[in-house]
Symmetry: C2
Subunit: 500 residues, 2 copies
């Protein structure tokens, strides 16, 4: 089967055939945002990447239970494991707010941004604070299994003992336990509670000023950051599920520690396939606010940044992200966005042209027919090859050339069967909307077609003016549309328009 | 102070001057939706009502911590207190889904609907499942205080003992404990665990098939429905806060039991003011699916209902709700919506006219000036009189008449100072957008003014055609706009348009 789905498994470091645990069903867990500030563009890329994974799995016919969490407690400032103040509580004191007000504000902002990028909502979006009893129970189980120890009210996972018992710790991130110990020894402050520097907290005793706190058998405190994902993935997907995803920056320590915890509880790894999205660079470098080399999603959409020559729409940015493979680094630049905008428009215009195409009947299944069917097959094969969106887009753009040639008359419908035209239409529709999750931005966003209707009237009047050689009117129309950044293109079958 | 805020307190049954516990700050808790089905229009009305309360308190300068919960567990089917299956779990089995998938789907749908109605997000939106440890702690405290008892793993609040100790139970809903006992005796099945029929469960032992369950000192089970609101209001607003709101159907048993629980824990009532929104009727009767006398929000917006002659926009429906006081029943009918649509448009058109008005300078503070200032004052007094939106709207509509007369020339700017015109503009802006939370719907919803720009071009060409007696073109424009439901109105200063 050519179209068998293959995924790159970060754990094995190899591309593997995807085999779900339960036929026809996929359980997928992706690490969601920590909601203590506005969502970064790099996070948006990660969630767009896994949105495409989610959409393509559904397109293949799988029933997907997609769980993406909200981290609303326990992500520590500085040294994640031993610091005594979590990022959310710190922000709360600065703004004189209840921590949950901070959480609510940024969670709402995150949801809005996901909508702007047309990222589909996951099936379940559990919150860390919503699973405190389950986290306390998991800590207890790990203690019972002898892989954790209590020190002054905090509980630490014993990585050293785990590494001795199972030769697993470090596999995902490609690190050796000895190196980890050496590494973290260099940075030892406040780590005196730990038996080994690579150990990590699964329950943390709260300092008196800490606002988020719960009772537990060990102390009034809060769960360690890594714990929540083990708890919520297990609760909603079971002890073993199919796919675990996240940004590549989470490989270590977060995902490595998740694996350790799951072994500590269930004696096995949580999932069969680990997928990691790669970093988003900006002008060739890591984004950094202090260097001034940074941009927020909102700035892209308004163009209010010294790094940009203009504003870019959310769908242009989404298209830009699709032009790269999820596991490759992606460099965001003004030039690259300009190119993406052209590409996005070219694709959407071809879709519009295609939608209006009708086959006159007849038509033979010759070379052109075969070529088009081949490209359609190729697009699916590209997607099944570890969700290779750039390759699938390349296949679609080869089809765009065919579509435009059919429209221009350089290619003939007589070399194409009506079935192939229908298949082409369905493919474009499926890929653009269902798989890539793009939206048609020049359609009136209120959905009532007012802009389309008004433009039809205006183009009609433009045609009449031209026929009557009424240049005054046709100039007036041209100028007004130019001001609204509406581009009119004259073709054989009349004028078409698009929004600049 | 004329403008002192007064609220009708359901607990005392009287209108009272509002005095916040902490100067300049308001803590407000409103019972949110149970997310096991699409949100009903009656709920939408409740949340729109408290949205206006929230907005007006902020307009008065209060810093408001508004908490509105999500009930995602424990709202039982049938007899709320003794049934053994909660509504969410039942739906989950029917649809073969994890209960949290149901919760997520309908919570997302609820959030979308709130956005459609332009209901501002609360500061904190806590979920019942996110506060299990706190609920278990509260059950324990009530047990420790001797106001609850354990029976077969479930815990019941002892209303009889509470009523004997404090003469409070039944005050909010105007019921006597003896009547409650008699009433519920008629409906006794499965109540044998209770000492008294009016007692209610605060912790419920889960039947084996129950999907949502947590460990507790008494059983693996789940919290009683009433408990979550006591827990979450106390956690985020303190043991005593200012305002507790909800639909009038929640007075008994929900709010009555909340009060009992708070006494059981803190020895005092949770809040100083209880506000209750009243019912939404449909064609003069209670909505009922089985009678066919029911309508969902989406059906209003599409017009897909045998009860409607046309579709109504969300802002028309919101305006319709504002035309009635929150504590009165409101009857939704097709005719009333048609009237609301006219009223909404008239208000928004006056706003547009007002925004474009300029004062030529001079102008005396005579009778007209006084009248306008008086109406402006009155609108605020109306709102401060228990959030009386229909009266405030009436004051605004008197001002609309003035605005239209100023535009038409029947009234003169020379009888008005420039300051009063500015005050009028600010008042309309504040009331329409900030207090009433309306949106200008005929503005292009994509926000880029494309529709406005195209309409300007079309009206311009229409004028030219008329001047040239080119009736063919002007007819074509008329027909095309009619099809798009765009209404053009010719006035002294040229044509204006609005979307039908």
């Amino acid at each position: 089967m050519k179209n068998e789905l293959q995924v790159f498994n970060s754990y094995s470091g190899k591309k593997e055939v995807f085999k779900p645990i339960h036929e026809g069903q996929v359980g997928m867990y992706v690490c969601g945002p920590t909601v203590y500030s506005d969502v970064h563009l790099g996070n948006c890329r990660t969630f767009v990447s896994f949105d495409v994974v989610y959409r393509y799995l559904q397109y293949l016919g799988y029933k997907v239970r997609y769980v993406r969490n909200i981290t609303d407690v326990g992500h520590l400032e500085g040294d994640e494991d031993t610091g005594r103040e979590d990022k959310i509580a710190k922000k709360a004191r600065l703004e004189q707010l209840e921590p949950m007000e901070i959480v609510q504000r940024y969670m709402n902002g995150f949801h809005e941004m996901m909508k702007v990028f047309n990222v589909a909502a996951p099936a379940i979006e559990p919150r860390a604070t919503g699973h405190i009893p389950e986290q306390i129970e998991m800590v207890q189980t790990i203690l019972d299994n002898g892989l954790a120890y209590v020190k002054n009210g905090s509980v630490y996972f014993d990585t050293f003992k785990f590494a001795k018992e199972k030769n697993v710790y470090g596999t995902l991130s490609g690190r050796k336990i000895e190196d980890l110990i050496a590494e973290s020894r260099a940075n030892l402050k406040n780590q005196d509670e730990k038996n080994h520097p690579s150990d990590f907290a699964i329950w943390i005793k709260a300092a008196p000023e800490h606002l988020m706190r719960w009772n537990s058998p060990w102390s009034v405190g809060f769960p360690g950051w890594h714990l929540e994902c083990s708890v919520m993935s297990t609760k909603y997907l079971g002890e073993k599920f199919d796919i675990h995803g996240g940004g590549s920056d989470l490989k270590f320590p977060h995902h490595e520690n998740e694996i350790a915890q799951n072994y500590g509880v269930c004696g096995a790894a949580p999932c069969n396939y680990w997928l990691h999205g790669n970093m988003l660079l900006f002008n060739g470098k890591k984004m950094s606010k202090s260097d001034g080399n940074s941009i927020m999603p909102g700035e892209l959409f308004t163009g209010q940044s010294s790094h940009l020559t203009k504003a870019y729409s959310p769908m242009v940015v989404r298209f830009f992200m699709l032009q790269s493979h999820y596991s490759s680094t992606l460099d965001l630049t003004d030039e690259a966005l300009q190119a993406a905008e052209k590409g996005y428009r070219r694709l959407m215009e071809a879709l519009k042209v295609l939608q209006e195409m009708t086959h006159t009947g007849g038509g033979s299944a010759g070379a052109l027919d075969k070529e088009i069917n081949g490209l359609i097959d190729l697009a699916s094969e590209d997607m099944s090859d570890d969700f290779n969106t750039p390759k699938a887009l390349a296949s679609l753009f080869e089809l765009v050339t065919k579509i435009n040639s059919l429209k221009g008359g350089q290619l003939s419908f007589s070399d194409l069967t009506p079935d192939t035209l229908e298949r082409l239409k369905k493919t474009f529709n499926d890929f653009i909307f269902d798989i890539f999750g793009l939206l048609a931005e020049n359609f009136d966003s209120s959905g009532n077609g007012v802009v389309d209707g008004l433009m039809q009237l205006i183009l009609d009047m433009r045609q009449t003016a031209r026929t009557n050689k009424d240049w005054g009117t046709s100039d007036k129309i041209r100028d007004a549309l130019k001001e609204l950044e509406i581009v009119v293109k004259d073709g054989k079958d009349g004028a078409t328009w698009s929004k600049g």
